[in-house]
Symmetry: C2
Subunit: 243 residues, 2 copies
């Protein structure tokens, strides 16, 4: 499995992805699922992936091949004029992989599975955030539901539902996302550290705040312990059920 | 879907079940999923169910028919000498329904699905708690993992993981279970109010604390609001992520 989440804020977007892949609990490995491309001053595009690793890697490779061998007839991530067009380009790359591998995968138990979170900013457009399905179509995050999740989304959703707001600062949003990861990591072994996290600041048009949070990371360890304590204190502060 | 959860404590067991059933989001109904049988002074047995309603109702009907027409050759819930034997009896009832309806269900998209939480106390035995699978086999809760869940278990699990302890009082455990329900109800429309809740006190060998919590219940409404506030306060008390 996988857990990726992104939160679209007034001041930017925060992205985070785990790095565990598995083919059964006895076959786990570590792969990066958070990718980004940038042309400082012009655009930042971030892509996170879940699902069949062969499919998602092929999608990223297709996108990179387009960038390496540009032709004037076809757009690339560096030439599309908007994030909407970037989402369509990624969707097309998914459909291209399905054209090649889909039939063989559908004949197996694994099936064709892939989903993506795409976000970023191009020029003067506001930062935008999309979820792209294995069919290549997509939805966009709005202020009503400012976050998107792919992979194991259930354990980490209650805290997002209650706390996520577009007005949050990037550091607060990153804290929230890491709490959402903490709940997920505790419950699903197929989601694993390290966590890649990227804080994109609106209008920076560059990637300045990006890091990998490893097992035993001081902030994450403290966050997890503080949150457990805070939850227990909050729990104790509420009147018990009487009947 | 369904959400049922039970927590085995040193001082008893708390059970809770939602009441929503659905065959698609456009076909919802209300059915009781928490059933109990008692012989005051001798035994209390509580059964909660998830899965195909036709299957789970048939299981309960089989158990009730045994009680209505006892014969000396076959045990009933009122004659089994232990909760372990009660779990085996329920498992046998599941297998009996599968024998009759299994083949037809397996040919449909619905399949044969049913799971149960069984708990209670018989005589001097300590209260025991089981989860029974659609195959009729079962596991027992222990102090390492004192709670069992069936149905939509993911959204409500993080809070149980962090707070559930065998030493809790029944009222505190009921509060915890209702918080677990609150997270689930917010995220999965197929889990719905009212909630049936039963607090079994060890060695009481009777059902004295059992009620239905309806939409707009004063305690539940206050609990939900207090918890949201407490979570936001707890969130604000933790240092933000810096990079």
């Amino acid at each position: 499995m996988t857990y990726c989440v992104a939160l679209r804020l007034d001041r930017g977007i925060v992205f985070a992805a785990d790095t565990r892949t598995n083919a059964g609990v006895d076959n786990v490995a570590q792969y990066r699922k958070l990718h980004f491309w940038r042309q400082p001053g012009d655009r930042v595009i971030v892509l996170m992936s879940a699902g069949n690793l062969a499919v998602t890697q092929s999608v990223v490779s297709n996108i990179n091949e387009q960038l390496a061998t540009p032709d004037n007839a076809n757009p690339t991530l560096f030439t599309v004029p908007s994030m909407f067009r970037a989402a369509r380009l990624v969707g097309d790359a998914v459909r291209e992989v399905r054209r090649i591998d889909g039939a063989a995968l559908e004949m197996s138990k694994a099936g064709f599975s892939a989903s993506f979170i795409l976000g970023g900013q191009i020029g003067a457009e506001r930062p935008r955030l999309y979820q792209i399905y294995s069919e290549g179509n997509f939805i966009e995050a709005t202020d009503d539901t400012p976050f998107l999740q792919i992979g194991e989304h259930k354990y980490g959703k209650p805290i997002l539902d209650r706390v996520a707001r577009p007005e949050m600062g990037l550091g607060d949003a990153a804290k929230l996302i890491l709490l959402s990861f903490d709940s997920t990591l505790r419950s699903n072994l197929s989601v694993g550290m390290p966590i890649d996290i990227l804080l994109y600041e609106r209008d920076s048009l560059d990637v300045r705040r990006e890091t990998r949070i490893c097992q035993n990371d001081e902030y994450f360890t403290k966050l997890s312990a503080s949150w457990s304590n805070a939850l227990r204190t909050a729990f104790a502060s509420i009147e018990e059920f009487k009947i």
